[in-house]
């Protein structure tokens, strides 16, 4: 707006103060100023819109909307109003209204380039591809600029990408786009690189690789200059697709001659080579081998080529490149895979890898480089290999503690590399318990010794020897898994605490601590650890699972809410963020980024973690509040939960979890496999299904109103509820619950099958945490909740049939009440015991008691919601029965079974909850009484500083358990208080 020329529009001057108020967040003054202005200038529409923006920002959405529509109805064509309305609609999250606005504007001013272009962008924001195509062409007709034409072409490509019907894409949209570009090519109107890129994109999507190759290699291809090696990379891709192996090979060779360190071209060189060998390809007797020059088509040539690259490294004065050395190992690996004896010509892998270690062992990446080639060693040479590596590490003399130590960081890195390779070959795992303890002793010595090299490190930098600390921790974990001895774990925690004290920025130490505390059931220390990781945006999706998996299940409800909120805030901002940049990509002609941005948005919207936090957050709110601070109905309404809708995109769920987040040098058999990943996703999905069904059933339950034939509700409370649900239109019938209950039952069946089948398949310790599913099935909470949620159906039936003719049904319901009591009691029994159990100098953590307790509380919540519904139905039945009795003057008839059954049920619930509260109190006092520092625990080290770190870790666990017990106890007490309202 600023660049409107020298003659200032008087309206701009008048509106300026309002803009300023809005910019400064002074919405009230903006509204006042707008009103003042409107008194004088009734027709200054923009002032109305600015007022509406002020209203919108002060929470008066409805007023703002009415005002906006008033102006929009006039179909304004002044810039000020249009732009202000655009801003307003965007803030209202109604981008589709912007399209209406500019549709009207171009109708009135059909020659305006500006309005047409705004219209195009408005369509882009909402993804109206067909209309974009038309708007782009309309623009091009007014102003024949190339970008407008290609906006239209790109919109066709987007129609192709988004079409459900792939055939339609390939027979209609893409060919049309291709023809549009060809027309420009024929008329020699292609101007920009972006246009050639788009042409390439279209041909690629059509699978017309030969045509694409012609474009890239031809005159148009000369425009591809922004990216380095853009033409070469595209050619290489196309040669691969077209299986033009001679060209592929020759080009790879050429590029490797230019840069013998570019790994991707070694791969394409070898791929093409072996394809040529398999095809018995021979070069033509005369002329060029291929369009890209000389072709290698025999193993001898490949060996020669790699050895030439190596030879030129050997004579170089500067640092040697790693590429040729690794290419040699890669070639050996491929020859061995083909069973070719030629590999011997390249040398003995053990020797070559040893030489590699000698050359590059002081680089931190040496381990990563060699890891992929370890399979070339035969298992009976592992020890020999590691011994040779170790001998090549320059260490000082053996010290007092029997450990020889490095004199500088290069030697340290070498020693560490050898240890990493040794672990990866399984040599550490093969050690006896004593061997492992000795190894830990050695690693700790190296860790402490190495700290001296990093005394001048900044707080944000890592210590050179941090990896020793982590490796020692991994060996402790091996020992713990092997022996089950708790003290090993305490020592591991102590060591990591020590490591963190020396290296406060080390995310790996924090992550491992976090994982161990979670496995021990102590969530409190995790909150600080996670927040110190300073996770940003996408990380909430990729590693948020570490937090949300444990917070609620360990009874730290406040922290659980917070954890969900972190993630949800990120996911919700994503939608807004991306559409802005899709538009920018059109403006700058970054066409290939447009589908990419959209795919990115979808990947986040379909995230498994997103669906989980959405569901868990709502469940948590219900557990904590529903029927406590507000009724279940109100709670459900507040979270705008729509039980009849399933909002989880089951078929396109994306598992964005980063399951490789933990550094590890474990041997291949102990690494996370594809099957593990698949299994974990399956397990997570099953659990999510159960949770989401529970949530939706709770939503249904909240909407149940008692049938209209039933007598008017007896209590004012029930009456209010009935009216409310009627006026909100959320009333649902018990019949709505039926299909969901069916689904819940089926899913439970599948879940039980799944856990049975995979009971013995555990994920690696550093892999994905198991879900709550196995425990939920084992402790009976799922089954108990299912029974509870089925009750409303039976009670509904009873309501229809009345008390007189329903003895059998009543008995059935009464039995269900009894069964619920028994099941709950059973669950409570599984929570008995000390969370920290000290016997014979061993301190054992029992986190499963805590998790069972949380399941118990969750189940109590569900049972109480259902009971509240039952009491609402039974109460009027009882009172009408009493009226009848009065009329007939009967004095002593038997109370109907269902009524006495319910009274007994609520009475036993009362007992059960008191018992639970008491049990928790006992657990709390026994924990408080536990003076850890006074204990002399088995296996604890002598050294005072080590002991300090261990005790600190134990204190954290103890304090966390107490907090969990308090939160769970508080919730149970609040729930117990609601029992009164169940009286009938």
């Amino acid at each position: 707006m600023a660049a409107r020329g020298h003659v200032q529009d008087p309206n701009d001057r008048r509106l300026r103060p309002i803009y300023d108020y809005l910019d400064n967040g002074n919405n009230k003054m903006a509204i006042q100023q707008a009103e003042k202005l409107l008194k004088k200038h009734r027709d200054l529409h923009c002032a109305k819109v600015l007022k509406a923006i002020g209203l919108q920002r002060t929470g008066k959405q409805d007023e703002a909307f009415t005002l906006a529509q008033e102006v929009a109805g006039l179909e304004p064509t002044d810039d000020n109003s249009l732009q202000a309305l655009t801003i307003l609609y965007r803030e209202m999250h109604r981008p589709e209204l912007v399209t209406k606005l500019y549709e009207a504007a171009v109708r009135k001013v059909p020659t305006s380039e500006e309005y047409h272009s705004h219209l195009f962008m408005a369509y882009a924001r909402v993804g109206e591809y067909k209309k974009m195509q038309q708007a782009g062409m309309a623009l091009y007709k007014i102003v024949p600029k190339n970008p407008y034409y290609f906006w239209s072409v790109m919109s066709l490509v987007m129609q192709a990408i988004s079409a459900q019907d792939e055939k339609l894409s390939h027979t209609m949209f893409l060919p049309l786009a291709e023809r549009m570009v060809e027309k420009m090519v024929k008329e020699e109107k292609i101007e920009a690189e972006a246009e050639v890129q788009l042409y390439f994109m279209i041909l690629e999507r059509l699978g017309k690789y030969a045509e694409a190759l012609e474009v890239v290699r031809g005159q148009l291809g000369e425009k591809l200059t922004s990216e380095l090696q853009s033409r070469e990379n595209k050619c290489m891709f196309l040669y691969g697709r077209l299986e033009q192996w001679p060209e592929c090979n020759a080009l790879s060779r050429k590029l490797l001659l230019k840069n013998p360190d570019d790994w991707q071209f070694y791969l394409s060189y070898f791929d093409s080579l072996f394809n040529l060998i398999d095809q018995s390809w021979t070069p033509p007797e005369e002329g060029n081998h291929s369009a890209e020059g000389e072709v290698h088509c025999s193993v001898a040539q490949a060996i020669g080529f790699v050895e030439e690259r190596l030879a030129s490294e050997e004579v170089k004065e500067t640092r040697p490149l790693r590429g040729p050395y690794l290419a040699r190992l890669e070639l050996i690996s491929r020859l061995r895979q083909r069973g070719s004896p030629d590999e011997q010509q390249l040398g003995e892998p053990l020797e070559l890898m040893f030489q590699y270690f000698v050359k590059f062992g002081d680089k931190p990446c040496c381990f990563t480089d060699l890891k992929v080639f370890l399979h070339l060693l035969s298992p009976d040479h592992y020890v020999q290999f590691v011994n040779r590596l170790t001998e090549a590490v320059p260490l000082g003399p053996v010290g007092e503690d029997g450990v020889a130590l490095p004199g500088d960081t290069r030697a340290l890195q070498r020693h560490l590399g050898a240890a990493q390779l040794s672990r990866c070959l399984g040599l550490q795992h093969a050690l006896s318990t004593d061997g492992k303890l000795a190894l830990i002793h050695e690693l700790r010595a190296h860790y402490r010794h190495g700290l001296q090299f990093g005394t001048s490190c900044l707080k944000t930098e890592l210590q050179f020897s941090d990896m020793y600390c982590l490796m020692a921790a991994h060996v402790y974990i091996d020992l713990w898994i092997e022996t089950g001895k708790e003290h090993v774990l305490w020592q591991c925690l102590g060591l990591l605490e020590e490591g963190l004290a020396h290296s406060p920025s080390n995310a790996q130490i924090k992550l491992l601590l976090l994982l161990l505390f979670c496995r021990l059931g102590a969530f409190e220390p995790v909150v600080d650890l996670y927040s110190s990781l300073d996770a940003k945006h996408v990380q909430h999706d990729t590693i948020g699972y570490l937090l949300t998996r444990y917070a609620e299940s360990l009874g730290q409800f406040a922290a659980a809410s917070q954890a969900c909120n972190f993630s949800l805030r990120f996911f919700h901002s994503n939608q807004k963020d991306t559409s802005e940049y899709i538009i920018q990509a059109y403006k700058y002609g970054a066409f290939e980024k447009i589908p990419e941005f959209i795919a990115f948005r979808n990947r986040l919207n379909n995230s498994l973690h997103f669906a989980q936090v959405r569901t868990e957050r709502m469940l948590l709110d219900l557990y904590l509040d529903a029927d406590i601070s507000s009724t279940l109905e109100e709670s459900v309404k507040n979270m705008s939960l729509c039980p009849e809708e399933d909002d989880i995109p089951w078929d396109s769920l994306r598992d964005n979890r980063d399951l490789d987040v933990f550094v590890s040098w474990n041997p291949k058999v102990q690494q996370l496999s594809k099957e593990h990943r698949q299994l974990s996703l399956e397990e997570e999905s099953l659990w999510l299904r159960l949770r989401s069904l529970t949530l939706r059933l709770a939503g249904c339950l909240s909407g149940l109103c008692h049938s209209p034939q039933a007598p008017p509700p007896a209590t004012p409370h029930a009456q209010r509820n009935a009216e409310k649900s009627a006026e909100n239109g959320v009333a649902s019938k018990p019949a709505d619950m039926q299909p969901l209950l069916g689904q819940l039952e089926r899913t439970l069946g599948q879940a039980a099958q799944f856990t049975d089948k995979h009971a013995h398949q555990q994920y690696p310790f550093l892999g994905p945490p198991p879900t709550r599913l196995p425990q939920a099935l084992a402790n009976g909470s799922c089954q108990c909740q299912l029974v509870a949620l089925q009750l409303p159906l039976h009670v509904q039936e009873l309501e229809t049939s009345g008390l007189d003719q329903s003895a059998e049904l009543q008995a059935q319901i009464a039995n269900l009440f009894k069964s619920l009591t028994v099941q709950l009691q059973d669950m409570l029994n599984k929570c008995k015991g000390d969370l920290l159990e000290v016997t014979d100098g061993r301190c054992r953590a029992q986190p499963s008691l805590l998790e069972n307790l949380v399941f118990f509380v969750e189940t109590v919540c569900v049972v109480l919601w259902v009971s509240s519904h039952c009491s609402g139905t039974l109460r009027p039945l009882k009172s009408s029965l009493q009226k009848k009795k009065k009329k007939k003057k009967e004095t002593s008839t038997v109370t109907p079974v269902v009524l006495s059954g319910f009274q007994e049920f609520t009475a036993s619930l009362q007992t059960l909850l008191s018992q639970a509260v008491e049990q928790i109190q006992d657990q709390e006092s026994s924990l408080t009484a536990l003076k850890l520092e006074a204990l002399s625990l088995e296996g604890l080290p002598q050294a005072e500083d080590e002991r300090t770190f261990i005790k600190a870790a134990m204190d954290k666990v103890q304090s966390s358990y107490l907090r969990s017990l308090q939160e769970v106890g508080d919730l149970l007490r609040k729930r117990a208080d609601t029992l009164k309202s169940l009286k009938i």
Binding site: S226, E227, A507, Y581, A590, F662
Partner: protein, 183 residues
């Protein structure tokens, strides 16, 4: 120089790898919000390049842009961010990425390449000097305070490209400037 890697354009899926704490032990790589990355991808995709290791791990990345007035001979390439994972340091990767950005800027007809660096970051300053950069000016309190650290000055370092035949663009300014005075 030994980097043994594949250089390729950054794409949105890299944001998911980017967070990898195994490679980037502190979230250096994610110092900006998503909109910032998307803006660069939409506007200067060729300037946003990652180095990928044979195993698919991200080794490092560079992010830059072209800006400035051609008429005033200020059209140049700018390095917005450069980061190499600790595991892949000491391989010359940063130099390779810088060289690539310079080449792209050459093709665009830039007069120079510039970057900002904390005056306290001696390691980085020395590295850039080795790559041919020199301090053009000091920008006072360019980095605002965070985590209890005070405001910090930046060096604006430059390297002339071939279009600036007389290397006019890198003649150091005699006085420091304020952040609001820079383009």
């Amino acid at each position: 120089m030994a980097y043994m890697t594949t250089l390729r354009g950054f794409n949105c899926d890299d944001l998911f790898k980017f967070n990898n704490m195994r490679l980037f032990p502190y979230p250096l790589a994610l110092q900006y919000g998503i909109p910032f990355y998307l803006q660069y991808l939409a506007h200067w995709p060729e300037y946003f390049v990652v180095a990928e290791a044979p195993g698919g791990e991200l080794m490092g990345y560079i992010m830059g842009k072209a800006e400035g007035s051609v008429a005033r001979e200020e059209w140049h390439g700018h390095v917005t961010a450069l980061s190499v994972a600790p595991e892949f340091r000491r391989l010359g990767l940063a130099a390779k990425l810088m060289e690539m950005l310079e080449e792209i800027s050459e093709r665009k007809g830039g007069f120079f390449v510039d970057l900002f660096v904390r005056v306290s970051n001696q390691v980085a300053v020395n590295m850039y000097k080795q790559l041919g950069y020199s301090v053009y000016r000091t920008v006072i309190e360019y980095y605002s305070a965070s985590n209890g650290e005070p405001d910090e000055d930046a060096y604006d370092m430059r390297k002339a490209l071939s279009r600036d035949t007389e290397k006019k663009s890198i003649i150091p300014l005699p006085h420091p400037v304020r952040p609001e005075d820079i383009e």
